[in-house]
Amino acid sequence: MKPKLKFTDVTTQPPDTQRRKNDLSSFEYTHRAEITSVYPLTDMETIYRIQVIDPEERRRFKFVPGQFVMLEMPGIGEAPFSISSSPSIHGEVELCIRKAGNLTNFLSKVGRGSHVGIRGPFGTGFPMEEMRGQNILLIAGGLGLVPLRSPIAYVQENRSHFKEVNIIYGTKSPAHLLFQYQYDVWSKDDINLNIIVEKTDPAWKGSVGLITESLLKILTGRDSEFYHNTYAIVCGPPVMFKFVCNMLNKFHVPMQKMFVSLERRMHCGMGKCCRCNVGSTYTCLKGPVFDYWTVMNLKEAI
C-alpha cells in the first residue's frame, strides 16, 4: 500500500441542520433575500422589509423577539441588525437601519427589489412566554426602540396575555422619534406610550427631560405586587443602561425579570470572531439579550 494520505473532503458532508454542532454547511450559508419595501422614517433611519426568496427557506425562517440577523451586501459588507418586526411572520424581517457606515450608507441608496444575503437568526431573545400574566415595561433610548418593536408587536398580537404594558421612550429631539405612524395603534392596543425628549422644538407638546424621569413617574407609588410582577426590557445607548437598571433595581424589580439587549461589533454572529465579547462572553451566542443578573456578572457590559 502506498503511504499516501487520503484527502477528506468536508464539503461532501451532508448538511445537518438538526444538530448545529455537526453542521459545517450553515456557517457561510446565506439566505438569498429581496428588499420588498423601503420606508424612510427620519433623515437617518429607514425601515427595510426583507423577504427570504426560496419558499421552503421562507417557511422555515423563524425568530423570536430580540434576535438579530447578519445582513450582507456582496462586495460592500456584512453587519448585524436587530430584527424589528413581528415574530409571527415567517421568512420576512423588518430592519430599521441608521446610516452610519459603509454598508448602511450603501443600503440607503438601494431600492426595493434588490437582493441581499441574510444569515441567522442569531442570539437569544426576550422570554415573551415567561412574561405571561405580568406587567411589562419596554424602555428604549434612541435607536433602542428598534429591537423593542418586535416584542411590542408580540404584545399587540397577544395583548390578553399581559397586564399593564408601558413603553417608555426617550430621544434627543422630536425629529428623532421613530415609528411615529404606529403610536396611535399602540395606544389603541392599550399600550401606554410615555415619550420624553431631551431637547424640545416649538411644535412639541409632550414631556421634556431624561428617560429616567419618565420611568420614575411610572414606578413611583406602586405597590410591591406591581414591582414583583413586572418584566422590564431595556435597550438604548450604553450610558442609559446603568441609570435605568439602577432605578429598576431600587424599586425591587427582580433582576431575573430585567432584560437588556446589548450592542457590540460583530463579524460572524456565531461565536468565532470574538469582536462582540463582553468580558469574555460572546454577545452573539449568550446575548444580545441578557438578564440583569448575568449583566452584573459581566465585566464592562454596561
Binding site: K4, L5, K21, P74, H115, H267, M270, K299
Partner: protein, 348 residues
C-alpha cells in the same frame, strides 16, 4: 496507546517514504538573529537534511496552515444587478506536520474546542484540520517556556504519532491506524522495560529544565477580583497596541471580515483576516463608540479571554505557555510577569 522504538536512521527513511507521496511541513532554519542564534520557522520541506528536529520554538506558530492570516470566505459573481455566491473552504490536499512540539499540538486541541466542537463549527478550519497528519516531537524547554504551568508540556491527543529522542533511538507513541501503517514501512521494535525506564528518565530530566512559570491556582477568580487593579494601567502604558502577541500566538483565532468589489466590477469577495484584540478599533461599533478605547483595557481583555473566559467555557486556559508573545513583544510584556503582577507582585 501503542508504543514502538526504532533506530534514529530509520526516521530519514520514514520521511523519504512519506515525502514521495505527500506534502510535508516541518521546522527549518531561516536565518540567524542578532545574537547569532538560529531562527526557525515551519515551511514545506522535501529534503530530510533541511528539517531541524532539534529546533527551538519557531517565531511564528504553524497557524497559517490551518488558520491562514487571510483567506476568502466566499466570492461573488455580479451580473446585471444580480449575484451568485461561491463558497470555498480553501483546503486542497492533506498535509503532514513533521515535528510539532507538545505546546503547538495542545494549541490545536484548544482551537478544536471552539472552532470544531462548539455550535457553528468553522468549515474553513475543519477542512484543513481533518487533513492534517501530525508527527509530534519532544523538545528542550527554553528559558521563556511556561507550558508546564499551563499543563501543555505533554500532549495526550491531537497527533497521529509522537516521537521522543532517547539518545540512540526514537521512542514513538502511536495514536492512529494511519500512523501505525506508515510505520510498517520502517524497522521498529516493541520497546522493552529498559526503554521504558530510559523514557521516564529522559522525561524527568526534561522537567528539570523548566525555569519560567505561571501560578494558575484560582487565576480565573483572581482576574475577576483584580479587574480594576492599577497594574493593568501600568502594563497598558508599556503596550504599543501593535497586535504582535496575537500574530505569534498559536491559539489566537479572532478575526475581522471585509468585503471588496473586484476592479472589473463583475465580482466581489468576502475576506477574513486574523485580527488582534489589542488593535484600537477591535470593539468599536457603528457611530464611533469604542468599548475598549484605552490600551490597558484591550491588553486586559486579552488576558481575560485567555485565562478566564476560556476557562469558564472549557475548563482550561487558552494559553499553552509557548512564550512566543513575550519573546516577540517589542515592549517586553510577557505572560509570567503580567500574571505575577496581577497576583500582587511588582512590575520590573
Amino acid at each position: 496507546m501503542i508504543f514502538r522504538i526504532f533506530e534514529k536512521k530509520e526516521l530519514r527513511s520514514l520521511f523519504e517514504i512519506l515525502a514521495a507521496h505527500n506534502k510535508i511541513v516541518g521546522p527549518v532554519e531561516i536565518g540567524r538573529d542578532k545574537d547569532k542564534n538560529p531562527v526557525y520557522a515551519f515551511a514545506e520541506v522535501s529534503d530530510f537534511n533541511s528539517i531541524k528536529l532539534n529546533y527551538t520554538t519557531t517565531k511564528l506558530p504553524a497557524k497559517r496552515y490551518f488558520l491562514p492570516f487571510q483567506e476568502d470566505l466566499s466570492t461573488f459573481r455580479i451580473e446585471a444587478g444580480n449575484w451568485q455566491k461561491t463558497i470555498d473552504y480553501n483546503a486542497k490536499e492533506p498535509l503532514i506536520f513533521f515535528g510539532l512540539h507538545a505546546c503547538d499540538i495542545n494549541a490545536l486541541n484548544k482551537l478544536d474546542k471552539v472552532l470544531l466542537h462548539s455550535v457553528y463549527p468553522t468549515p474553513y478550519y475543519a477542512a484543513k484540520r481533518k487533513n492534517m497528519f501530525i508527527i509530534g516531537i519532544d523538545c528542550v524547554p527554553q528559558s521563556f517556556c511556561f507550558c508546564r504551568s499551563m499543563g501543555s508540556d505533554t500532549a495526550l491527543h491531537g497527533f497521529d504519532m509522537f516521537i521522543t529522542d532517547l539518545g540512540a533511538k526514537y521512542f514513538v507513541e502511536i495514536l492512529t491506524d494511519t500512523a501505525y501503517n506508515f510505520l510498517k514501512n520502517i524497522k521498529t521494535e516493541e520497546p522493552k522495560e529498559k526503554d521504558h525506564v530510559l523514557y521516564m528518565k529522559t522525561a524527568a530530566e526534561r522537567n528539570k529544565k523548566f525555569t519560567a512559570q505561571v501560578e494558575t491556582t484560582d487565576l480565573a477568580k483572581i482576574l475577576d477580583m483584580e479587574f480594576q487593579a492599577d497594574v493593568w494601567k501600568q502594563w497598558g502604558d508599556k503596550c504599543l497596541a501593535c497586535g504582535t502577541c496575537s500574530n505569534v500566538c498559536p491559539t489566537c483565532y479572532c478575526y475581522g471580515v471585509e468585503e471588496t468589489v473586484n476592479i472589473d466590477l463583475k465580482g466581489a469577495r468576502k475576506t477574513k483576516s486574523l485580527y488582534s484584540c489589542n488593535l484600537i478599533d477591535f470593539a468599536e461599533v457603528a457611530g464611533g463608540h469604542n468599548f475598549r478605547p484605552e490600551r490597558h483595557t484591550r491588553l486586559k481583555y486579552r488576558y481575560y479571554h485567555k485565562h478566564r473566559g476560556f476557562v469558564e467555557a472549557f475548563e482550561e486556559s487558552l494559553c499553552v505557555g509557548c512564550g512566543r508573545c513575550g519573546q516577540s513583544c517589542l515592549a517586553g510584556i510577557n505572560v509570567p510577569e503580567v500574571i505575577a503582577s496581577v497576583r500582587g507582585g511588582k512590575i520590573k
